[in-house]
């Protein structure tokens, strides 16, 4: 049931959009979810009024403590009823406000989404879950304030509100997480019961501060109230719904929800009541000076929110009850006033109170209907506002505080009440009387259809009914909600105030001696203020104009400027710089843990030095150094690089890695060939362009990296070894059927890795193919410089040509031998593939690309694909026998004349590796070589 209430608006979300050209149907569809939810809530009401808490829960992400948990008690029921009930009237009102324009559909959709989010806040049992909806309301409010996105004022208002409420949401997140850590749960039930735990924790000030920040920003408390007046650029139904009746009450809801946790704490009183009273005064005072009707209503909303906050801050059960009562009353009288403003705005074309005067003549019905909520706002007798204002004064007189504050708070409260009379008078008298209209854009004002007034009638009736019989609410739902909010109230209430009152005793109003006098004073004060308005306005006009939005915009522009500068400083488009960042980061992160290493030389016995190896190593190091020293002379540097690679080959052979030596040797030949080809396109020298500073910096970084690697490898090499390789050594023959453990690892134990690696190889080869596809020799810059190379481009030395042809079959034979023996002796698919590729590319070098390519039996890309396919299907084959992917099988057979013969599926896999390596290598070499031909690239190769 609870989940249904929450999901109803979402289920109907697409409806209005689909029906956007049938406005009546659209509004009908959009009104259904709040209406149904309202009725469902009414059904549940008797249960929750008895103090029961309905829970619904299922685990969402249990690892994070996230549950979809809903809770309905009298407090959330009260809010949910407000949300859905006012939602229906707002839908109805919006239908007339938008007068059949298709944008209404967008409005309905957003409002439905908002409704779901708002219901989520009040129904959530898990605080994290609640926070998600909390942020959603901020986001949807942003969209609704910017409803007319083509207007700058809307966009900026929307941005300001998102900035403030979103920032508050962030603070709230922090507060909730802290609180969750203290309690060990995010469930409201657990948190509400953990009052002592939370209040005694050392993090309590942070928890309270962050949560209050979230609540105050949302509920537009001073000094975060600035976003609310600027949110008035939204369509009026939005202002009526989000920015007076529901969303701004979310902060209040949070304060009331967490009331049992915080109330009674001293800082709760000072902060909540303090901010509340300041907001009350600022809001009600500024409201009088607003010339924009909606601006006036916005500040009035701020002041009422401040009033409610002040009451909550008192921390007593009675004050909480009054706060809830006033919250309902405020929703009931503020929503129709917004609607009135919207009607006048549509009719007259402006909301400026300096222009809108004397409307009583044109809208007598509207005047009557808005008199009631205005009077309720001012606190006139027999209306709902009367009681809540009175009770407010009583509570401020009976507050839990003492000393100077005890006198100060009632005085400020009375002052606020007087101000509110003043702005109510201004709104009503100025709009409907006060002489004649001044320069109205629409003249005469357009009469709206009488049906527009229906919600106004409803609200006016509600105001009167609650004014005549306040006990209906006060002793019913409000009392139940206050009890639900204040779950363990007996513990909470300080002894100074009245004991646990289940139902609020209205007789305090009659009993209080000063109350009538105070009422009279507030009315007279308000009247006096309004009478003196000309003087006040003149005084106000002289004050410096502090427009929060302009300051905010300037700040925003500055922030954007700073962040752009910062980004440009870090990300300046220089790859050279980025490489530096990467290297330094890598150095810092790998170097940091190494600093603490104490033993650099382990216990492993050092290998004795022999002169031959030592000489080779020294030579190798010298050549590596030479590359970096001579890198300006490119061809020299390249030759040294090649020599380095060859020496490393010897190194692998020396240190017991024959497979590596074979591989490195074949690769080195081809890599140098490719670089040589590339060099023919490039300048032959590198300029000396690095500044001395940069050069030294790079030398330092390179030295640090070198020393780091040397130390690290020394530290590892001198330590005794324990490796998982013992398993491979032990199982190579029995499990993989081969004695060359390196090859068995490649094609069997770690076959999946190898499959991935040949795939990378294939992709790289294809990328080379794609990149060279449209390259043309004639694009080669500066022909003159490269004449040296051109001379060689098409001339093939006779000696090489003659020699290359007989070498081919021999090389192929060798590679076949290497391939076949690979499983047992150094060799295998990789090495055999490289040898084959080298032999074939020799034909290209010796006889020219055209000659050789005509004689190639196949294209290379299909070859690469075939190789991958062979390797892949070999792996899949094992699945047929019910074994895991790439399990190998082998067996020994006896063949006549040849003797014992071993067959292994691993050999088939190795064949795939071989074919891929041949195809990929030739694809790369041939395509790069193709660029060298003077007569253009001819047909593409591959």
């Amino acid at each position: 049931m609870l989940l249904l209430i929450l999901l109803l608006p979402l289920l109907f979300l697409p409806g209005p959009l689909l029906l956007r050209h049938a406005p009546r149907w659209a509004v009908g569809l959009a009104s259904l979810p709040p209406l149904i939810a309202f009725i469902l809530l009414l059904q549940l009401l008797p249960t929750v009024m008895q103090g029961q808490v309905l829970l619904y829960q299922f685990d969402w992400v249990p690892e994070l403590g996230l549950t979809v948990a809903l809770r309905l008690d009298a407090l959330s029921a009260l809010f949910a009823l407000l949300i859905t009930g006012i939602g229906v009237t707002v839908m109805y009102y919006a239908h007339h406000y938008f007068a059949g324009k298709p944008e209404a559909a967008r409005f309905y959709t957003l409002i439905l989404a908002f409704m779901a989010a708002m219901l989520g806040i009040v129904l959530a049992e898990n605080l994290i879950f609640m926070l998600i909806f909390w942020e959603l309301t901020s986001l949807i409010s942003f969209l609704l304030i910017g409803f007319y996105g083509n207007k700058q004022i809307s966009r900026r208002g929307a941005r300001l509100s998102l900035f403030i409420t979103g920032g508050g949401g962030l603070a709230l997140l922090g507060g909730i997480i802290l609180m969750g850590q203290v309690v060990g749960s995010y469930q409201l039930t657990d948190i509400l019961a953990a009052r002592e735990l939370i209040q005694n924790d050392s993090r309590f000030p942070w928890i309270l501060g962050l949560i209050l920040l979230g609540a105050f920003t949302k509920s537009a408390q001073f000094p975060f109230h600035l976003w609310l007046p600027h949110a008035m650029s939204a369509p009026t139904p939005v202002s009526a719904y989000l920015h007076s009746a529901t969303m701004v009450k979310a902060g209040i809801f949070l304060l009331i929800r967490l009331f049992p946790v915080f109330s009674g704490h001293e800082s709760w009183f000072y902060w909540v009541a303090g901010i509340g009273v300041v907001t009350l005064l600022v809001g009600s005072f500024v409201a009088i000076f607003m010339h924009d009707m909606k601006g006036l209503l916005a500040y009035s909303t701020i002041s009422h929110l401040g009033l409610i906050t002040l009451l909550i801050g008192f921390g007593t059960h009675g004050a909480l009850t009054v706060a809830l009562f006033h919250l309902v009353n405020h929703a009931l009288f503020k929503a129709p006033l917004f609607m009135m403003a919207g009607v006048v705005d549509k009719a007259a074309g402006t909301r400026d109170l300096r222009q809108v005067n004397g409307m009583a003549k044109h809208f007598p019905l509207l005047m009557l209907l808005s008199f009631i909520p205005t009077a309720a706002m001012a606190g006139l007798p027999y209306l709902n506002g009367y009681f809540s204002k009175k009770l407010f004064i009583v509570e401020s007189l009976n507050g839990p505080h003492s000393g100077m504050i005890a006198t100060l708070i009632p005085i400020l409260a009375i002052l606020g009440a007087a101000f509110s009379v003043g702005y109510a008078l201004r709104l009503f008298h100025n709009t409907f009387f006060n002489g004649k209209p001044v320069d109205l854009p629409n003249w005469p004002p357009k009469k709206p259809s009488s049906w527009t007034y229906a919600p106004l009638v409803f609200f006016a009736a509600a105001c009167v009914i609650l004014g005549l019989w306040p006990e209906l609410m006060l002793h019913g739902l409000i009392a139940a909600a206050a009890n639900a909010a204040n779950v363990s109230s007996d513990l909470l209430i300080p002894a100074t105030s009245a004991p646990h009152i289940v139902s609020y005793d209205l007789s305090v109003i009659q009993d209080h001696p000063w109350l009538s006098l105070i009422s009279a004073v507030t009315f007279l004060g308000g009247l006096a203020m309004y009478s003196a308005r000309k003087t006040l306005f003149a005084w106000h006009a002289k004050l410096p104009n502090l427009n929060a939005k302009d300051h905010f915009e300037k700040l925003m522009q500055k922030l954007i400027g700073w962040s752009q500068d910062a980004v440009h400083m870090v990300e300046n488009g220089s790859l050279q710089r980025y490489v530096l960042y990467l290297l330094v980061t890598a150095l810092v992160f790998t170097g940091w843990p190494l600093i603490g290493l104490e033993i650099w030389q382990g216990e492993r016995e050092l290998m004795p030095i022999d002169a031959m190896t030592a000489g080779g190593i020294v030579l190798l190091a010298a050549m590596a150094l030479a590359v970096s020293v001579l890198h300006h002379q490119r061809i020299t540097a390249l030759l040294f690089t090649g020599a380095t690679g060859l020496f490393i080959t010897i190194g692998f052979a020396r240190f017991s890695a024959p497979d590596l030596a074979l591989t490195q040797f074949s690769v080195e030949v081809m890599a140098i060939m490719i670089m040589m080809l590339a060099l023919s396109f490039l300048p032959q020298t590198s300029p000396h362009e690095s500044s001395r500073l940069r050069w030294s910096r790079d030398v330092v970084i390179a030295s640090i990296a070198g020393i780091g690697v040397a130390l690290l490898s020394f530290a590892v090499m001198t330590r005794p070894q324990s490796s998982i390789s013992d398993y491979f050594l032990a199982n190579s023959v029995s499990g993989g059927g081969g004695t060359n453990v390196v090859n068995v690892i490649l094609v069997d134990f770690r076959g999946f890795d190898t499959l991935g690696e040949i795939t990378v190889l294939a992709i790289a080869a294809l990328a080379v193919f794609a990149l060279t596809r449209n390259l043309r020799l004639k694009d080669r810059p500066n022909h003159q410089q490269n004449e040296y190379w051109n001379g060689f481009a098409e001339s093939h030395p006779l000696f090489l040509r003659v020699l290359a042809r007989p070498i081919l079959p021999m090389a192929l034979l060798v590679s076949a031998y290497i391939f076949l023996r690979g499983h047992n002796l150094p060799g295998g698919g990789f090495i055999a593939g490289l040898i084959t590729a080298a032999a074939l590319s020799l034909q290209y070098v010796a006889c020219g690309i055209r000659w050789a390519h005509v004689r190639m039996l196949t294209q290379f890309r299909p070859l690469v694909g075939a190789g991958l396919l062979i390797a892949g299907t070999t792996g899949v084959g094992s699945l047929i026998f019910g074994k895991p992917f790439l399990t190998s099988w082998f067996g020994h057979f006896e063949l006549p004349f040849i003797g014992e013969f071993e067959l292994a599926t691993a050999l088939l896999f190795d064949l795939g590796v071989y074919v891929t390596v041949v195809g990929a290598t030739l694809l790369i070499l041939a395509n790069m070589g193709r660029l060298m031909t003077i007569h253009g690239p001819g047909k593409e190769i591959g």
Binding site: G573, S574, L575, Q576, V579, L583, L606, V618, A624, L625, V627, S628, H631, T641, T644, G645, I648, F655, S656, A657, T663, A671, I674, M675, A678, F681, L682, P683, S686, S690, D698, V699, I701, A702, G706, A710, F714, Q721, F728, L729, S732, T739, V741, V742, L746, E757, V760, L761, A764, A765, V768, L771, L775, P781, N782, L825, F830, L834, T921, I924
Partner: protein, 112 residues
């Protein structure tokens, strides 16, 4: 011997790092080649140094660690493919941008 190999590794790394910090694509390619030699050798040295102990069952009494060797073997082949790719990238960029500065913009000289 370990110390010598370690020093060699350091020199290879330092040369490679210095070169990849240069401003011209060809130097960076050379630097990457040296650096990949260094990385391969470093990985290989993680299996410690052995003399006359190939990882072939029955060939020797002792066996060098075959696992780093297998890893390095594929690393060499992939390194080759990557070198080819980077080389072609450098070629492509020099033809498209008319200079061989890694940033694509040559502040110091006329376009080549």
């Amino acid at each position: 011997m370990e110390a010598l190999v370690a020093i060699l590794l350091g020199v290879l790394t330092a040369s490679g790092v210095f070169l990849i910090l240069r401003a011209r694509t060809f130097s960076v390619v050379l630097g990457l080649t040296l650096l990949s030699h260094a990385v391969n050798l470093f990985l290989f040295s993680m299996g410690r140094l052995h003399t006359n102990a190939p990882a072939v069952i029955g060939e020797a009494a002792q066996h060098a660690d075959p696992l780093p060797q297998a890893l390095v073997l594929t690393a060499i082949v992939i390194g080759f493919a990557m070198t080819a790719f980077v080389v072609v990238l450098a070629l492509r960029s020099v033809l498209e941008l008319k200079n061989d500065h890694v940033d694509g913009v040559d502040k110091n000289e006329e376009p080549i």
